[in-house]
């Protein structure tokens, strides 16, 4: 574990002349993200042994990585996700449209530019919740200054920081609004942010990300559809320097793919009896909501997410929106770059809280909606899944994906305990 070579992240814009990639010493390989201008289309892991790569090699790699995403834009418009397995097979159009399509990528650009342009309307507040991470916060706020389209308001919610550095950093950015929330808890901070901001659309980014220049245009573009209540976007890794970051990206990650996806009624009903996989919708590090949805379904549940159960505050909100018939739209063109935790210990802890939050969220979703699928997922699907991984681990060794099993399983158990304790406390009050 000590001798982990970092991976280099390389962004290639296919609309420009392709470079040759030469080997770099002391790296294990490359994580190559393929773009067409500002549209991310796919990625590919390239081990060092395959370098150098000529433009021809790169083209072949790119084709395999990007074709599904291009198809999703050109053929289907948006995919209404109804299953996670056969998400898309064959296109709805005619073979004629396809063959007449001389240059699919240029066409793609036109279509997406259209949706960007359509987005003039509603005002946007960007909310960054943070706690004692001034350096990361400064990096994040810095990237927000470079947006091609400025938000109406940027609001930093300082969640019970122990030092006043957060305040100092925020003050350095002129027009950024600073709010202090003394009660620790990410969802507490998010709710404070919602109350203290004024935009029709509220976009949340974590303090450990940086945003792409066109991030906000993509988010706003998606809200043009009035049925869309929540928008999520792509979170690419910002660095893959340590084993913890590599494991996180390969087995957990925030990446939800490069295909535009719409999650609505169909998706919800299909999975209701088995537990709706709301985590597939996106990641809390990069999400936005229409303000009025909070009037309909309420604010974030303060029992969830960092500082409380662990996480899943975001997905539980999507669950409520879907249950009320709202639409969540995953827009891969809304890109942020996430800095995964570099230390292995923090990574274990993070997974513990992930599973703890996930299980708590399942119980809370059951409590709110009485959808039995949530319990089924907790009592059947998860135990079966972990039993399978345990058996695999016993047979082939606990490495890679299985190196964090203990933290995860303890997290699940802890989630149940956490939920019951909270119930107890509510009763006492």
């Amino acid at each position: 574990m000590s001798s982990f070579n970092p991976l280099k992240i390389l962004h290639i814009d296919l609309s420009r002349e392709l470079p040759s990639i030469h080997p770099v010493p002391d790296i294990a390989g490359l994580f190559v993200v393929f773009w067409w201008q500002n549209i991310p289309l796919g990625h590919s892991w390239v081990p060092l042994s395959e370098l150098p790569m000529s433009p021809v090699n790169i083209t072949e790699r790119a084709l395999t990585a990007i074709t599904p995403a291009v198809e999703s834009y050109l053929m289907g418009g948006f995919i209404e996700v109804s299953t996670s397995t056969d998400s898309f097979s064959g296109f709805a159009g005619d073979i004629k449209t396809l063959t007449e399509m001389g240059k699919p990528l240029s066409l793609l650009e036109e279509r997406i530019a259209l949706s960007f342009k359509a987005s003039k309307a509603p005002s946007v507040s960007v909310i960054v919740c943070t706690r004692d991470r001034p350096a990361q916060l400064a990096r994040c706020l810095g990237s927000l200054q470079n947006l091609s389209h400025k938000p109406d308001e940027i609001c930093v919610v300082d969640n019970a920081s122990r030092s006043d550095e957060t305040c100092t950093v925020t003050a350095g950015f002129g027009d950024v609004h600073y709010v202090y929330e003394p009660k620790p808890g990410l969802n507490v901070a998010r709710n404070k942010g919602i109350r203290q901001s004024s935009g029709d659309i509220i976009a949340f980014v974590d303090d450990d990300v940086t945003v792409h220049g066109d991030w906000l245009d993509a988010i706003q573009g998606a809200f043009v559809d009035l049925g869309v209540m929540a928008v999520t976007g792509l979170a690419l890794p910002a660095e893959l320097k340590t084993q913890a970051q590599y494991l996180f990206e390969t087995h957990w990650g925030f990446g939800r793919g490069y295909q535009d996806k719409v999650f609505g009624r169909q998706f919800f009903e299909r999975f209701r009896s088995r537990g709706v996989p709301v985590l597939e919708i996106g990641a809390g590090a990069n999400m936005a909501f229409r303000r009025r949805v909070f009037d309909d379904v309420g604010l974030f549940d303060e029992r969830l997410d960092v500082g409380a159960a662990g996480c899943s505050g975001d997905s539980e909100m999507w669950y409520r929106i879907l249950a009320r018939g709202g639409i969540c739209h995953y827009v891969p063109t809304a890109v942020v770059y996430h800095y995964h935790r570099p230390e292995m210990e923090a990574f274990h802890r993070q997974l513990f809280y992930y599973m703890r939050g996930h299980v708590t969220a399942l119980l809370i979703q059951f409590e709110r909606h009485r959808h039995w699928g949530n319990l089924r997922r907790m009592l059947l699907s998860l135990p079966v899944y972990y039993a399978g991984l345990m058996i695999h681990g016993l047979l082939y060794g606990f490495s890679g994906r299985k190196s964090t099993l203990k933290s995860e399983i303890l997290g699940c158990l802890s989630g149940v305990k956490f939920y019951l304790n909270q119930k107890q406390r509510e009763k006492c009050n």
Partner: protein, 415 residues
């Protein structure tokens, strides 16, 4: 029960150009399915097989539906490839010798030559200087020689020692071209064959070998359909450059079947000479009628070279028509793979862990195929898989060393 399953009789082969309207079709009555090659601007982009609906006439409308469903991704990919690839600029192309090794099969040879002579000797507007060389291997009659002499522009040479790799090495000795292509006598080359090879060379001028797509020439018997359904010689429609590793394959490059097949391959002649050509103890005809192509691919990779697979470098192979011949072919494939594993185990002791992995993985895969076949999840007859496994057993138990002894005798016989 196992023997009484219905086995596909005959498949219709269709060659569809996506940019042109799909022609009206006449499907023969006894056809039980169709195999479709989809092209875009005459380059192959997809191939699939589908059983025909029973008791219902099949219309071109349904065919369009199938193509939409199955080939849209491939067609789109081809379109994107065109968009990303700058137009080919070249002023010089390498000279080429096409070698066809044959033995007493004049009918197939004539068909193969005809297809070769029909294609234009130029690629991307640049003329290619090329020659065709027929190597007649230990012929029993003069028919082949007479045939070749009747066709202008085809050279003839004779190799008295029986064995395909004796013939190939003879071709290597006599060839003049920068590139030396080998095709089997039972193939027909596609119109884009030469351009496909030259495109591969332009993209990867330093690669040591080029392999190409091999599709069925006909699917007129059950044996041919079965062979193609199991994957045949197909290797997909992406250009692949094989280097020193292949992710997900710890046994690489021992799984030399990934590179392609000897029915359609080309080499830089000087590199082939550096390696002293083919191993004459392989491809000897019975009892070891396989392995020479995989052996040379493996050695090229081990010497640090690259092998490029190009789908447009396309031939159509006339598969064996009889069930018995198909069983024999699977026997010899199993035999060949394992005889090679045995050879490399002795030549190259550092490879042993990888060879152990290969042997285990190969038999493991056959075993799981066998289970599927017995459970009737796949239409492939289980006894063919058993035959292949048996061939593998014989191969690993010293077949290569026995073959060495045999060719010593052959060499003595023809000094």
């Amino acid at each position: 029960m196992i023997f009484s399953r219905s086995i596909p009789k005959k498949y219709v082969l269709l060659d569809i150009e996506a940019l042109q309207p799909i022609p009206a079709m006449s499907i023969p009555e006894n056809a039980s399915g169709m195999a479709v090659l989809v092209r875009l601007k005459s380059r192959p982009v997809d191939f699939w097989m589908e059983p025909l609906p029973k008791d219902k006439p099949f219309t071109s409308r349904e065919l369009i539906g199938w193509i939409n469903r199955k080939s849209s991704i491939s067609l789109l990919k081809a379109r994107i490839r065109d968009e990303l690839t700058p137009p080919v600029k070249c002023t010089r192309l390498p000279s080429l010798t096409v070698a066809i090794c044959t033995r007493d099969r004049p009918r197939q040879l004539a068909r193969c030559l005809k297809s070769l002579l029909r294609i234009e000797r130029a690629a991307f507007g640049v003329p290619v200087s090329s020659s065709i060389l027929v190597v007649d291997n230990a012929p029993s009659t003069k028919v082949t020689q007479a045939l070749v002499e009747s066709v202008p522009g085809v050279d003839y040479t004779m190799e008295p020692r029986p064995g395909l790799d004796f013939s190939r090495n003879r071709a290597l000795k006599e060839a003049q071209g920068d590139l030396l292509a080998f095709i089997d006598d039972d193939v027909v080359v596609d119109g884009g064959w030469l351009e496909g090879l030259m495109a591969a060379w332009i993209e990867y001028p330093d690669a040591a070998a080029f392999t190409g797509q091999v599709l069925p020439y006909e699917l007129a018997t059950a044996a041919q359909v079965l062979f193609e359904q199991r994957g045949g010689f197909r290797r997909g429609f992406d250009t692949i450059c094989y280097g020193q590793t292949l992710p997900g394959h710890p046994e690489y490059p021992l799984n030399a079947g990934v590179f392609g097949t000897g029915a359609n391959m080309a080499f830089q002649r000087h590199i082939l000479n550096q390696l002293n050509g083919f191993d004459e103890a392989l491809d000897t005809g019975p009892p070891l009628p396989a392995g020479g192509d995989h052996d040379i691919f493996y050695r090229l990779i081990r010497e640090g070279h690259q092998i490029v697979y190009k789908p447009a470098f396309l031939v159509f192979h006339d598969h064996r028509r009889e069930r018995k011949a198909l069983i024999q072919q699977y026997w010899s494939w199993g035999l060949g793979v394992m005889a090679l594993a045995d050879k490399w185990r002795h030549k190259n002791p550092t490879e042993r862990p990888r060879i152990r992995y290969l042997v285990r993985a190969w038999f493991g895969l056959r075993f799981s195929e066998l289970i599927f076949a017995v459970l009737r999840r796949k239409p492939f007859p289980f006894y063919m898989i058993l035959t292949e496994m048996a061939g593998g057993m014989v191969g690993i138990m010293g077949e290569y060393r026995r073959s060495i002894k045999r060719i010593h005798r052959v060499r003595k016989q023809f000094p």
